[in-house]
């Protein structure tokens, strides 16, 4: 009698534990109840984020869209482990960002390309290997340069490259160690409109080849819709999630997608949300 009673209970417990574990690591990125304050002079503080929640699934591309100064870059810096939240919890692959950093499992690219000016494109892409104390995988570095379309510029130094090419090198560098999570903070923000559009299509192609969990921060609605599976629209400061929009446009997304009515409808809708978000930011 007791044995039969115990069995379903252990089974239920095992099931619950398994479920909890799967649930815990089902999300590649989980931010819950995030508040972030930056101290100013004389005990004053500015509240950048307030009650911010976001989850990103494995292999999902999420774009964060918001007016400037809404704290969207702060979200990315929290996930990158460059800032610590004042309240709430940041989990990446079920753990704190610091642990992933220690294991060299994050990739990042900023608006400022931050390449090493004294190193060639190849050496810049190889940097993560050296920083991690690993043998440089030359085949991987060459494959990445090929992926971003720079195989002919491997020996060029950053100042010999155009702005778009530098960002390609920065993205290749971010991908070098096959990171679990790719973090992009306005990577094309400093480029002209034409180059930016071309780089968006390039990134869509690169992402299709890699399918890495990606968090993109941008203020460009077209860019967000073209690239992301989900677009998160933020309010003005303090930043909260205002709206989450699933983007069901079929992949691969090329230039033809940008001419479809569905694409424009989404862009218009999100632009509208952004415009409404602006006054809240100025009022705060």
């Amino acid at each position: 009698m007791p044995e039969r009673a115990v069995e379903p209970i252990t089974e239920a417990i095992t099931e619950a534990i398994t479920e909890a574990i799967t649930e815990a690591i089902a999300e590649a990125i989980a931010l819950s109840g995030i508040g972030k304050e930056f101290p100013l002079r004389r005990g004053h503080a500015v509240r950048a984020l307030d009650g911010f929640d976001l989850t990103v699934e494995h292999g999902e591309f999420v774009a964060i869209l918001g007016p400037s100064g809404c704290g969207k870059s702060t979200v990315l810096r929290l996930v990158a482990g460059l800032e610590a939240p004042t309240e709430g919890e940041v989990r990446v692959e079920g753990r704190g960002p610091a642990e992933l950093i220690r294991e060299h499992r994050l990739g990042v690219a900023f608006q400022e390309h931050a390449l090493l000016p004294w190193a060639s494109a190849r050496a810049n892409v190889a940097l993560p290997f050296k920083v991690a104390g690993r043998q440089v995988d030359r085949a991987r570095v060459d494959a990445l340069l090929h992926l971003v379309g720079l195989e002919g510029f491997a020996d060029a130094r950053p100042r010999q490259l155009s702005g778009g090419m530098r960002q390609r090198v920065a993205i290749a560098r971010a991908l070098a160690l096959n990171p679990d999570v790719l973090l992009l903070d306005e990577p094309f923000g400093a480029l002209d409109a034409v180059t930016r559009r071309r780089m968006n299509l390039e990134l869509a192609r690169i992402w299709m080849a890699q399918r890495i969990t990606t968090l993109l921060v941008t203020h460009d609605v077209d860019e967000a819709v073209l690239l992301a599976d989900r677009v998160v629209v933020m309010t003005g400061r303090p930043g909260r999630v205002r709206h989450v929009q699933r983007v069901d446009l079929p992949r691969p997304r090329g230039t033809e997608v940008t001419r479809e009515p569905a694409f424009h409808a989404l862009v218009d809708q999100l632009t509208g949300l952004l415009d409404e978000a602006e006054p809240a930011g100025t009022a705060a």
Partner: protein, 257 residues
Amino acid sequence: MSGGAARTAGTSARTAGLAAAGAVLLVALAEVIGRTGLAGPSWPPLSAVVEYLTAPSAQRVLGRALAATGSAAGLGFVLGAAAGVALAALGTLLPPIGPGLDRLAALVNAIPLIALGPLLITTAGRAATPTLVAALAAGFAVFVAATSALAAASEGQRDVFAVLGAGRVATLLRLRLPAGLPLIVDGLTLAGPGAVLGAVIGEWFGAPRGVGVLLVSAMQNFQTNLLWAAALASSVLAMAAYLVLLGLRHAVQRRFT
């Protein structure tokens, strides 16, 4: 582009011309003062100093002194620069001691080198003092330059290194040092002439040989021409050090920015 380049070339040509004119004017002035005896018997005409330098015996004496001073300054420069960079690097590897190092360096620099001379003579000996004073003079300039140089990498670059999981040593070797090299070399161009001056001061207190010793004995024996020749020689040495380091700086700036 080419117009801008031509303008830049024109500007630098004019600067060089003005500098040359200034130098010629100074030399001419020194000559006139010497010939007219305006500043007394201790100011000979420059031509007399140069003529004195044509004598083989004078060349031998000065040559020996310059070799001694040059090697003391050179060795002191290398030691001081290495210590300056190493201390600044230590400050970035162990951030809590950074401010303390800054203060220590400022304190050491506040002690006049003249006051340190006798102290070093009694502790390190006559032969080593010129090198040590040169190292102190060069070391402080390099330490100050290196401290700001190692913080010169952009915030974006430092963020990328942080996210990639780079440790302090990797960040120092792969980012801070190469990014700071142009500024470190700026410090070296200051430290070079400083090391020559330091070596001469160190010799002043009774080194076995060197330009400093020559200056003292020429002064005491009223050998005006020798005094001037020695002073001239040490300035030329300091200027040569500066020019060599300027070349290095140019090369580094091309390579690392």
